[in-house]
């Protein structure tokens, strides 16, 4: 596969690792922000290969994991309504809300369908004119423009049975919130690759400017990640933190203007609640007034019980990088991918499921 295989070359990888080992003298802590990076790092065993000077932490970059229980509860309540079809990305189906999950209500008879794209959801709406199709809009700035595009398409075509439950969130505000919380001392951030393909590199300017932290945007193949780490180390060793793009084939400094326009035409920022972090101002997306007729929360009357958190679940602390999955008393003993307690264990990019599946280092 072009643009993937070349960046998996193990020979080049090993030499990059050697270079990182030679250059890294100061002990540093890097946070990979994005769930996709967490998985890639574990899958290729990158942590094991780095020198002991480099400590890696996982951040709150898994949009499924950071959705609050109250949001899951809304989705479940909508699924229970008659003549409603829920269309959702697969990751959401087994996440436990306060009292139930989409998988459970599906077993009880609700119409919950896994889709790969909003295009699929629109097709379901077209083929089921007597039902209401609610798409669960989850994801960061990579996904939000695709959801916005689907709304514009629905508006253009006059599809009037298509709705969105917007659980979208934005990255730069939560990076700022984590840094402001100051719970973990960070020296560098591995910035999300595909969010940046949309938003570009400028929005991260505040990270080196206001916090003195190194900032490099990374791709997802092993060589991409190693190159990013090499660049972070170089920034720190030279004492010059700034925003750099390691993933130059996928990210331009100005991002994708058209995608940003589409996203901003349909959505506007709002305050949002992040699991484990609380409310982060202007970190979520809601539908603008002109598109409110597509908003599932406005179109349907749902009654919710007060949300509650699973006892003992450390998802929140893990998402902020304050604890790691092995610190959680439930990890492996009670909480597993088969019987998950919290979303970090369900989502394919959650820290807990990644730790569980890819394990700790077993000596090479």
């Amino acid at each position: 596969m072009r643009f993937i295989d070349e960046y998996r070359d193990s020979g080049l990888g090993k030499r990059l690792i050697d270079r990182i080992k030679r250059r890294s003298t100061k002990p540093v802590r890097f946070m990979e922000f994005c769930g996709g990076h967490t998985v890639a790092i574990f899958k290729h065993g990158i942590r094991q290969l780095l020198p002991p000077t480099i400590e890696m932490l996982s951040g709150p970059g898994c949009p499924v994991c950071v959705s609050a229980n109250a949001d899951l509860d809304k989705a479940v309540a909508l699924a229970r309504l008659p003549d409603v079809i829920i269309a959702t990305f697969g990751d959401m189906v087994r996440v436990p809300g306060s009292y139930s999950s989409l998988a459970q209500v599906k077993a009880e008879g609700a119409d919950v369908r896994i889709v790969y794209s909003t295009q699929d959801a629109l097709n379901i709406a077209r083929s089921n004119p007597l039902k209401s199709v609610v798409f669960l809009g989850i994801g960061f700035e990579t996904t939000a423009p695709t959801v916005a595009a689907s709304i514009l398409e629905a508006a253009q075509e006059g599809i009037n049975n298509y709705y969105i439950l917007s659980l979208h969130k934005l990255c730069p505000p939560v990076i700022k919130a984590i840094l402001d919380a100051g719970e973990v001392r960070l020296d560098g951030i591995i910035c999300p690759g595909h969010v940046s393909a949309i938003i570009g590199s400028y929005p991260y300017g505040f990270v080196p400017r206001d916090y003195g932290i190194a900032c490099v945007i990374s791709g997802f193949e092993p060589l991409d990640i190693l190159l990013c780490i090499d660049m972070l180390v170089a920034q720190i060793e030279s004492g010059r933190p700034r925003v750099e793009i390691a993933y130059r084939r996928g990210v331009r400094p100005e991002g994708n203007q058209r995608a940003l326009e589409v996203m901003n035409q349909v959505f506007e920022p709002c305050d949002a609640s992040w699991r484990g972090i609380g409310v982060v101002p202007q970190s979520g997306l809601m539908l603008r007034k002109e598109f409110r007729r597509f908003d599932a929360e406005h179109a349907f009357k749902i009654e919710l019980e007060p949300p509650r958190e699973a006892e003992g679940c450390l998802c929140g602390d893990i998402l902020r990088g304050v604890k790691t999955p092995p610190d959680c008393k439930l990890f492996r003993r009670v909480c597993s991918p088969e019987h998950p307690v919290g979303p970090c264990m369900v989502s394919s990019e959650g820290s807990c499921s990644t730790y569980y599946l890819y394990g700790g280092g077993y000596g090479g």
Binding site: F42, G45, V64, G90, F140, Y356
Partner: protein, 334 residues
């Protein structure tokens, strides 16, 4: 003749009789089935293997096969994995009212062709028809009987440290072929299911060496789950190398698109063997001469460390644990 299956076809009366006699019996042409007695009666001696499986795959037609071929190969392979020569199959159909007769004929022809290829006889069967909505088109159950040659002792608990792990070919093809047909995943794929009967392959492997310790076909849960089963049953560790595992490019691409790991995607025409190190090369070479084992490769070995766990060396030289498949494979977005 009606072109759809009716409830009456399952009731045991004339319509049922006609269905079986005119459509099924002529396909299978064997003396045991022709008798149409309540049971097939035959003599067998030796150590017997007996297995059953139900087939509920959807969609029932997929690139490279259909539910009929799968129903034969799956059960034949379960027998073969015990080292048995598969001999006889039963077949039971549960058909949804309204199922097109033409499709049923196609599927039964697949059953016959697969049975012929596997050199097994379908000797007894049953047909039931249920109301529309009570079954999803067609469910098939097959049970199989085979004979294990003397001196053969194959079990998931037999793996020993030092043994080699052999894989008979590339992985993930059946799962991706089936997924490609499902609603919502319409990829135009050049991938066909690897569904195939492996009885002959196993017989040839046993000719090369009677000392084979373990055999299993990596179906649901994929290669990863099968290796974990061996590791747990035998209480040993297993180490494999990522670069040695054959995966077709198109399967890799489809897995990238869907967010799957080929290690967990089902195969229906592959096997994993664990054999003593002295036998490994010979067994592998012999496998490569069979049409279903041309890409056989030694992918790893059994160790005493990390008992119960499977560890894979990645292309970068790091190690990672390969766990059992948990839950269902769900597509990732983020």
């Amino acid at each position: 003749m009606e072109d759809r299956i009716l409830l009456a076809h399952g009731s045991g009366g004339k319509l049922s009789h006609d269905l079986v006699e005119k459509n099924f019996v002529p396909l299978f042409k064997n003396s045991l089935l022709d008798k149409l007695d309540d049971s097939a009666v035959f003599e067998l001696s030796g150590q017997l293997a007996f297995t059953t499986d139900s087939y509920v795959v959807t969609p029932i037609f997929f690139p490279g096969g259909d539910i009929g071929r799968l129903a034969v190969c799956g059960t034949v392979n379960d027998l073969a994995m015990s080292g048995a020569k598969p001999l006889y199959l039963s077949i039971s159909l549960v058909i949804e009212e309204g199922f097109p007769l033409a499709d049923l004929r196609k599927i039964m022809t697949s059953v016959q062709e697969a049975a012929d290829e596997a050199e097994v006889k379908v000797v007894t069967g049953d047909t039931k028809v249920v109301n529309r909505g009570s079954a999803d088109k067609l469910f098939i159950n097959t049970a199989g009987i085979g004979v294990i040659p003397p001196g053969v002792d194959i079990s998931g608990a037999n793996a020993q440290p030092g043994d080699k792990v052999i894989l008979s070919g590339s992985i993930g093809e059946h799962g991706i072929a089936v997924l490609s047909q499902r609603e919502g995943f319409k990829f135009s794929l050049p991938i066909e299911s690897d569904c195939a009967p492996l009885g002959k392959l196993v017989a040839e492997m046993l000719e090369a060496s009677k000392k084979i310790h373990c055999l299993r076909d990596p179906t649901r849960g994929g290669l990863a789950s099968t290796l974990n089963e061996f590791a747990q049953q035998s209480r040993v560790g297993i180490r494999i190398e990522e670069e040695k595992i054959p995966v077709q490019d198109a399967v890799r691409a489809a897995c990238e698109l869907l967010g799957f790991d080929p290690l967990y995607v089902a195969c229906e025409g592959r096997l994993v063997a664990v054999v003593p190190p002295s036998e490994a090369e010979e067994v592998c070479t012999r496998m490569r001469r069979n049409q279903y084992g041309t890409h056989s490769a030694i992918i790893g070995e059994v160790v005493a460390e990390h008992a119960g766990r499977v560890v894979m060396k990645t292309s970068l030289g790091a190690s990672r644990v390969i766990d059992m498949l948990v839950g269902e494979l769900l597509p990732r977005i983020c």
